[in-house]
Each structure stands twice: as structure tokens, then as C-alpha cells.
Symmetry: C2
Subunit: 295 residues, 2 copies
């Protein structure tokens, strides 16, 4: 499927990774032409035209560390790790979700990259190996311990998210934090020692008691809350009997193709009707359902 | 493709994740019946039958932390985070690679899971958020800071590894650390803010100067050195001109289908002949080439 249509992917930013490893080149880019992403804590600051706000490096707190995001139209773009940032420990933020729904595709991708990186820096000011202070390095794509010299790299946490199909129906579930009547694809983190296909099968069995076969990859999405790589898959079940793990999900149900078609159509019209409310367009689960309906 | 044939995947261990969250159930499993994986540092200790060695919890250093790997034939399996372990900072270890080549498929998967987890614990004894000490929690699938209560989870780092095809030829490269004449698929870490497909395209352009299209997923593999999730992909190039980034790879070349067939056949016979030496059978790159030859 066309990955470019997926929210938080498709940044037009040139990551220019050779610059990260070249302190002189990086220094030359940090002049008055450089752009600084304006943020409100970790949230985007939207300008009057509805676009991401950008200032200059002069706007940065002198005590901040700066992350080099890449080049946009030839200009170096940075984001600020303010000493005030304590890292993402905040819960659901309705204002952020409303802002995301109206942001341009490219802005979403740049914002997501910046948010994941800044949040990671704010939560990794100390060395996990020895407990001493770390410093930003390589334009913000690394931190280095001042005491034991250990290198630390930003996290990307792979998560499988998957449709399960049985006789033309699809299995969807509800997490307790979801808005009323919202159902989405089951999901879970890939663990050490697992392939993607094994993680899919384990998660569906743990959460819903269903054994699956023929796992196939559909699409992926970077998800910056805080730094997941969502790996969207499809699978088949022979036995539809459900055993729900109530510590993970509140409910899981099989929905017919007709119910999914209706739910997606109602959502496109902004109506909260039908058998369930579909996952929002910026979630990869929405793309998985749209892909499934086309099969 | 059949994921079960890929080295380090296919563990028959039941991860029994409900036990991790239940200290009483976990405590009941930690008795004289429980098995303790025998390790030599981070390396496997192979028993006289060529299998992974197992002892009992009585063999553990009382100062060690214990990781619950899961249930194998109804028995709880643990691995030990010894206070002596400083985490994986060692370079290439030829004895380890020889041991891996002869290990049973299931043993490889269990060993890989244990190695990734133990190594992560040994390198995360302090809280990256506040610098204070952390303690193993949830059977070793988490660490918790005693001071700021931050949760920390084992890392799984997604890496794309990809074949690039142009007019029936395939692009392979050499890292400086490879044995002489070995070529393998290009690879690189997925970064925050990227989909899998974007990471593939960026890495190939950075390393070899080649633009690709039509990226597709082929297979995945957990790789425990220290904790990568290898995501194997295929892609197409329209222009075969190469611009090598010498900081990343030493050489890259297009190989014909006939050269790949010959290299894979020589390798199966243990002969180091042909246009290049193919990646070893326990590497996902080997599976990618075998898959490609079948297309």
C-alpha cells in the first residue's frame, strides 16, 4: 500500500546524516538562517496559517541542547531540548489530538520526528550504564556519557498492530482508554527474541485467545507517542472463539465487512453512528481497515 | 516466506506473560524445579550433547537478578543477570560464531532471547531519567527506578536490511569488519519519524547513492547482538550508478543471478569460491537471497 498517505510518515526533510557526523559542517549550519521549531512543551505550536511554527536559533534558551532535524528547502532545521522538559509522562491531551487532525501531512511527519527525539533526550539525561550525566552528540542522534563514554541512541520501539480475519469477519478490540464505541486493531510491542510474525501471533493469543496463521505485512507507520514503529499486519484465524485478557483490552468482537464499510463511511462524514466508531484517519489501524476493504 | 526456518526465531518457549505481572505466581515457579540457563558471560555454554546447558536456581549467584524467560515443557526457565556482567562491549567473538553454527534451532531462539534481555539489564542498572539505581521488575521484562519511579523496558531496535534489484542483478555490500570476499545485503537502523519503507530508501541512498522504488517486506528476524529486529525487504532501482559512502561500507557491487546461485551453492558445500562469499545461513540476508532466487 502507499506509505506516503500514512500520517507521521512522508517527511520531505533531508535528514542529511553526513552532517551529524561532521561537527564543523553542523556548526556552519547553526547560523541566522537556521530554523528552530516552535513547540509548546512537547506539543506543536501552530501558526496563523495552520502550519508548524518556526523561529530562529536566537529564540532558543541558551541552556537548551539542539537537535538537528535535517534540511528543508536548503535550510537547517533544529528543535530544542529545553532544560525545563521532563519528558513525556503526560496522559491523553485532547488539544494535541485536535491539532493533529488539521495539520498538513509534511508538518505531521516533521513534528513527529522532532517530538520523538526531544522527548527521548529529555528522558535520557543520565547514563543507564553508570548513572552519570550524558551529553547530546552527533546533532542529537546520540548521547554520550561523560564518565564511562557509553553511547546511547534514540529509541524506536517496534509494535505489531494486526487485523485478524475469520470467514470474512475482522477482529477488533477496545482499550479502556478509548472513547465510547471506538474499536481498533489489536496491538502489542515486539519483544526481544521474536520475529514480527511471532509477535503478531503471541499478542492475539494473549489478548483475545485466538490462534492465527498466515501472518502478512501490510504497512508501517512511525508513531511519536513516544517513539513506536507501528508494523501493520493481516492474519487468519480458523477458530473464532474469544477469550479476552481484561488486563489488556476491555472488549473484542468480530465485525462483518458490511459493518466495517458502514463505520468507515460514517466516520468520513463525521457521524458517530454504525456498529462501532472506526479508528481515526491518522492511525495505521484506519489504513489497515481501508486496505482490507479493498481486498 | 517461512519465518520458522530463520535463526533466532521459532522459540518453543511459552513466554507466559501473565506470570510476569503476578509476583505470587512468579514466586511459586522459582523453586527447585525451575531451570537456570548456564552462560559463560553472555555466551552460550554448550553441554556434551551439543545443547544449551541448564542448571537450577541454586546455581545462581545470590547477588544476581533473575529474568523469567518463560515455560518450557511446563518448567519455568530463568537466566541470571550477574553483578559481574558489564553489558556487551565486546567485539567480534569467533568462538561464539562457531557455537551458533552448530546449535539447534530452538536453542538458538531461547539463547537469543536470554542474551538480549540479560545484556540490556547489565547496561541499564541506572535510571536514564534521574541517574539513580533501577531494579528488575515483572520477571525481568521491565526495570523500575527506586527514586523517580520511571519504568524502563528492554530495547528492540528495528533495522531494515534489503535487497535492491536492477535488471535481474542484486546490490550487495561489504562492511569493513566482514571476512574477506563476504558480501551481504545493505542494512541500517530505522530512525524516529520513519516508516520501514522510508528507512529502506534512505539507507540505500546514503550508503550506495541509489534511489529505490516499490519497497516490499519479505521476512523478519530477531538478532541478539544486542537486540535488533531485522526487517528484510526487497526494492527496485532504475539507475544502477553507485556512490559509495566509505564511512559506512567498504564496497558495493551488483551481482548477477548466476553469481548468487553459484555463491549460495559453494557456501552449502563449505567452499569459499565464486564471485563472492554469501552471508551465513543464520543471517536473514542469506534468507533474502534464497527467497530472491526463488522469485
Amino acid at each position: 500500500m502507499n506509505g506516503a498517505s500514512i500520517a507521521f510518515a512522508g517527511a520531505t526533510l533531508d535528514r542529511a546524516d553526513h552532517v551529524r557526523n561532521d561537527p564543523e559542517a553542523l556548526g556552519r549550519l547553526m547560523d541566522w538562517r537556521a530554523r528552530l521549531l516552535v513547540l509548546d512543551g512537547l506539543d506543536p505550536a501552530i501558526d496563523p496559517e495552520g502550519r508548524l511554527g518556526w523561529g530562529t536559533l536566537a529564540d532558543a534558551d541558551p541552556a537548551s541542547e539542539l537537535v538537528f532535524l535535517g534540511l528543508l528547502g536548503g535550510k537547517a532545521c533544529f528543535a530544542e531540548v529545553s532544560p525545563k522538559l521532563k519528558g513525556n509522562v503526560s496522559a491523553f491531551n485532547p488539544a494535541l489530538w485536535r491539532a493533529l487532525a488539521t495539520m498538513e501531512h509534511d508538518d505531521l511527519a516533521i513534528y513527529g520526528t522532532a517530538r520523538s527525539l526531544i522527548d527521548w533526550h529529555a528522558r535520557h539525561r543520565f547514563c543507564a550504564r553508570c548513572g552519570q550525566g550524558t551529553k547530546l552528540s552527533k546533532g542529537g542522534w546520540q548521547r554520550v556519557c561523560g564518565a564511562c563514554a557509553a553511547d546511547h541512541f534514540p529509541r524506536v520501539d517496534p509494535v505489531t498492530i494486526m487485523l485478524v480475519e475469520h470467514q470474512g469477519n475482522v477482529l477488533l478490540g477496545r482499550q479502556p482508554r478509548f472513547p465510547p464505541r471506538r474499536f481498533s486493531a489489536l496491538a502489542g510491542f515486539v519483544e526481544p527474541g521474536e520475529s514480527i510474525e511471532e509477535a503478531v501471533a503471541r499478542e492475539i493469543f494473549e489478548e483475545a485467545g485466538v490462534r492465527v496463521r498466515d501472518v502478512s505485512y501490510v504497512a508501517s507507520q512511525p508513531w511519536p507517542f513516544p517513539s513506536q514503529l507501528m508494523i501493520g499486519c493481516h492474519s487468519h484465524a480458523d477458530d473464532p472463539a474469544l477469550t479476552i485478557d481484561a488486563t489488556e483490552i476491555e472488549e473484542a468482537r468480530w465485525f462483518s465487512r458490511a459493518e466495517v464499510i458502514e463505520a468507515m463511511a460514517f466516520q468520513a462524514e463525521g457521524r458517530e453512528e454504525g456498529a462501532f466508531i472506526a479508528p481515526p484517519p491518522h492511525a495505521v489501524a484506519h489504513h489497515l481497515l481501508a486496505w482490507w476493504l479493498k481486498q
